[in-house]
Symmetry: none
Subunit: 193 residues, 4 copies
DNA sequence: TATGAATGAGCCTTCATTCAT
DNA sequence: AATGAATGAAGGCTCATTCAT
C-alpha cells in the first residue's frame, strides 16, 4: 500500500519531522532530503519546488484529517451529535500527532501568502463539512433557524483553532480531548435560538 | 513627550505602510528606511534589530487598541454590555485602519516563532480584559457559574480573530461592524447556563 | 554499415534539432534523449559524455561538408575556379540546412575551450583544402607568388565565416549563394599580385 | 580620475584577470570579488547581475578600443591610409593586453545568446567606423565604386577577427603587428576595381 | 543492449547589520 | 545623531552521469 510512491511519502514524513524540530525557517531542503534518506535532487523528482513539498504535506495530512472526521460524522444523524463528533475528532487527531500539530498550527503559518492561500484551499472541504452541520442543525430545528452560516462557521473554526493552537503552544500540558464536551456545550448554546 | 522621539514613530508608521503594501517578506529594512526618510543605519539607533521594529509596532498599535477598548468598557457595568462593547470596538478599530489590519491579521503572522511569542505577550493585556468580563459575568450571574475561563477566552478571541481575518482576506467586501450584534448574541448564548 | 549504428545517428540528428530549437545552454542530455527516442542512459552507450556528442556531431556534419566541397573542387583545375567553387559550395550547404547552420555558426561556439579546440581539429581538413587552393594559385601564377599562406587562409576563412554568421543571425533574410560571385571577386583581387 | 567609481573599475579589471586565468565557466562571482578585494555583495552595488559585469567589461574596454582607433584614423585623409591605421591599431591594441585579448576573443564568446546580442550592440560603432572608411574610399576613387558595403565590412572584420583569434589561440607565438602591412595590402587589393 | 530513477556537486544573489565618517 | 557604502553568510535548484535491473 504505502509502497506506492514510497519516496513521495518518505519525503513528506521527513518534512513533518524536520519542520517540527527545526521550525519553518530552519528547514532547508537538504535537511529534509537527509532525513528522508534521499539525495537533494531526488526531492525535485517528486516535488516542483520547496513550497510544493509543504502544500503537498498539508494536502495529504489534511486530507486524512478531514476524511476521518467526515466518516465519523456519518454515524450520527443529529447535528448536535455531529458537531460533538467533529470537535472530539479534531482534538483527538491533533493530540495523536504532536509533530504534525506543531507543523500545521505553528510552523506552516509562517509561510508566505502564496502558500497560505493554497493552504486555505485545502481547508475548504473541512469548512464545507462544518457548513453542512450548521445547515442540518437548522433544518432539524436543533439550532436557531436564521443563522448566518459563514459567521457561525468562523466562530466554530476560530474557536477550535484557537484552542488547539494554545494547547500546542503550551506544549500540551493538559488533555485536549477532555475539553471537547465543554466546548461542544458552549457552541451548541451559541447556536440555539 | 513622545514627540521627542519623532523618528521612532516615523519608522513604525513607515513599517506599517511598507508591510501592508509589500507583504512581510517584501519588507526589507532599507525599504522601511526609505519610506521613513531616514538612512538604513538610523533604524538601528532606535531599534535593536528588524524583529524589534515589528514587536514595537505591535506594542504601540496594540497598546492603543487595548486602551481604547478598556476605556470604552468602563462605561458599562453589565458583563454582557461590556462584551458587546468589546466586540464592537474590536471590529470598529480594525475597520478604521485597513493597512494596520492587513499587517496584524495577515503579515505579522508570517514572522518566526520568537516574534510570535513576543506578540503573544503584547496580546496578554487584551486577553486579561476578556478574562475580566468573563469573571464579572459569572459574578453577576449573567453567564454560567462554572465557566472554564481560559477556554471561554479562547473561544471569544478565536471567534473574533477568525471573523476579522476572514474579513481582511475577503478584502473588506462587507461591513464588519454590522456583524457585532449577531456575534454578541451567539457568544452570550454560549456562556449562559 | 552506418545503418548498423542507427541509434548513434538518431542521437546526433536529435542533438542538431534540440540545439537549434533550444540553444546550446537549453539542450540538456535528457532533452536530446527524448528527441532521439532513447533513454538518457542509452546516450552513454554511444558517447562518452555530452561534449562527445557535440564533437561527434561536428565531425559527422563537417565531414560531409568538406567531402562535398573537396569533391566539387576536383572538377576544376584553375585555382581561381576552385576558390569560386569552394565559396559557392560553402554558402550553398549552409543555406540548405538552416538548423545545422544555427548549430555550427552560433550555438556550438558557446561551448567551452576544450570543445572549441576539438572543433578546430575537425576544421583542419577544410583549412587544408583552402591551403591547397592558395598553393595551386601561386604555382599557376594566378595569385601573387609570395603569399603568406596561413594569413591568406585566415582571410578567406574569416571572411566566409563572418558572412555566413551574419546571414544566420539576420535570419537568412537574403540569398546567401548570390553573394558568392562578389565575394569571389574580392578574394581573388586580394590575392593577385 | 580613476578614483571616480574606483570599485566599479576594480571589479572590471578583476573580471578580466579572473576570466583570462580561469575561463568563462570557471569564473564565479566570488572569485571575481576576491580578486577585486571586495565582498561578494559589493559586486551587486555596481552591477545588476553577473552578466552585467561582462557586458560592462566589454563596453568599457571596447569603448576605449574604438575611441583609440577612431582618433588615430582622423589623422589621415586617404581611405587606404585610414584602413592601414585601423588594422595596425587593432593588432597593436590586442597585442598590448593579452589578458583582455583572451577574454574578448575566446572566453566571452562562450556566453549565452543574450550576452552575445548585447556584445554585438557594443561592436556596432566599430563596424560603423569600418563602413565610413569604405564609403570614403569609394568617394575618393581609391576603392571600386559599387562595393556592397555590408559585405565588404564583413570581409574586413572577419579577416581581422580570424587573424587575431588565431594569434591568441596560438598563444601569441609571433608578432601580430608585423602582419599589418600584408593584411592591408590584401584588403586594399580586394577593394580595388 | 537498454532503461530511467537516483545522485550530489556547484553557484548566484539577497539583505540584515556594521562602522568609518 | 545620522549616514549609506560595504559586508558575507546562507540555500534552493539544475543536470550530467551512474548503475541496478
Amino acid at each position: 500500500m504505502k509502497n506506492q510512491k514510497p519516496k513521495y511519502h518518505q519525503i513528506i514524513e521527513a518534512a513533518v519531522k524536520v519542520i517540527a524540530e527545526n521550525g519553518y525557517h530552519g528547514s532547508q531542503v537538504s535537511k529534509i532530503a537527509k532525513e528522508a534518506n534521499v539525495a537533494d535532487g531526488t526531492i525535485y523528482l517528486y516535488f516542483k519546488n520547496k513550497e510544493h513539498i509543504l502544500v503537498s504535506l498539508f494536502e495529504v495530512k489534511m486530507g486524512e484529517f478531514i476524511n476521518q472526521i467526515a466518516k465519523a460524522i456519518e454515524e450520527s444523524d443529529a447535528a448536535s451529535d455531529q458537531l460533538y463528533t467533529l470537535i472530539k475528532m479534531h482534538f483527538r487527531q491533533i493530540s495523536s500527532d504532536y509533530y504534525l500539530a506543531i507543523v500545521t498550527q505553528l510552523e506552516l503559518r509562517q509561510s508566505n501568502i502564496s502558500l497560505r492561500l493554497q493552504i486555505n484551499q485545502v481547508l475548504k472541504p473541512y469548512l464545507t463539512v462544518i457548513d453542512g452541520i450548521i445547515q442540518k442543525g437548522m433544518e432539524q430545528h436543533q439550532f436557531g433557524k436564521d443563522l448566518n452560516i459563514p459567521l457561525v462557521r468562523q466562530m466554530i473554526f476560530g474557536t477550535l483553532d484557537e484552542i488547539v493552537t494554545n494547547w500546542v503552544m503550551k506544549e500540551q500540558k493538559y488533555n485536549l480531548v477532555e475539553m471537547a464536551p465543554e466546548v461542544h456545550r458552549m457552541l451548541v448554546n451559541a447556536l440555539s435560538k
